[in-house]
Symmetry: C2
Subunit: 142 residues, 2 copies
């Protein structure tokens, strides 16, 4: 959670051969400050990026960072794709209200790691990871 996250991630990007651009810095800062996954549209419209660069630039940045394993692309049921910073050792599952669309990360420990290991062994899939989401109607929407 400390502010030093951004510089560290940028260092990782640099190691991967990516250039340090203003857009990269602002995009990462925005994602780190956000406590939930964000869409391309949300990112492109966010304060740090709106005046900074074109939506196509944000799009290509998201592509590049996802390919390099800095970000992860999530489904989350909306028409738009969501992106989140991938931090080693960290994993989040989400609780989503199908009424208002609110997305919140779940704090409880994820209960699927054992099954994930089992699947990895039995199927031989490489680079296995999972995505777990809970959907329902929040008290406000009910």
């Amino acid at each position: 959670m400390p502010k030093e996250i951004v510089p560290k991630v940028i260092a990782r990007c640099r190691d991967l051969g990516l250039r340090r651009t203003k857009a990269l810095e602002e995009l990462l800062a925005t994602l780190v400050e956000s406590d939930r996954p964000m869409t391309l549209a949300e990112l492109a419209a966010s304060p740090r990026l709106a005046d900074q660069c074109d939506k196509a630039t944000v799009y290509r940045l998201l592509q590049r960072l996802t390919e390099h394993g800095i970000l992860r692309r999530l489904g989350l049921h909306e028409r738009a794709a969501y992106f989140t910073l991938l931090q080693p050792g960290k994993h989040s599952d989400y609780l989503i209200c199908t009424g208002c669309g609110t997305i919140e990360a779940i704090k409880a420990p994820c209960p699927v790691h054992d099954l994930e290991d089992e699947i990895r062994e039995k199927t031989g899939y490489k680079g296995l990871y999972h995505e777990l989401e809970f959907f329902g109607t929040c008290p406000k929407c009910a």
Copy 2:
């Protein structure tokens, strides 16, 4: 798995006030025969439906059936939405190859029911359900 599934589901539809149309029958039969979720495009192009009706009809059928709880709409990471028949007492998690896009249902018991109950109690969300998917590269694609 028996053939009687379709008539039963149609009966449920009728109880909900839906009309028994050819398109409805074929759509349900297609989904029952499929062992995995399908997209609107796949369904509209499937043998039973291709000559039967317009894609817009399939689209609206999927909407209606989803609203009435006969089907469930899933994310599954592709740009297109996936739909699956919702059978009482049945639940599937999926294993998806990010290379070739293969989707297969996981047989192992789902390990998140306890967490789901916990979330239901703590948050007060109504109609809570979850979606769990594993992503990775299958042996063939690796």
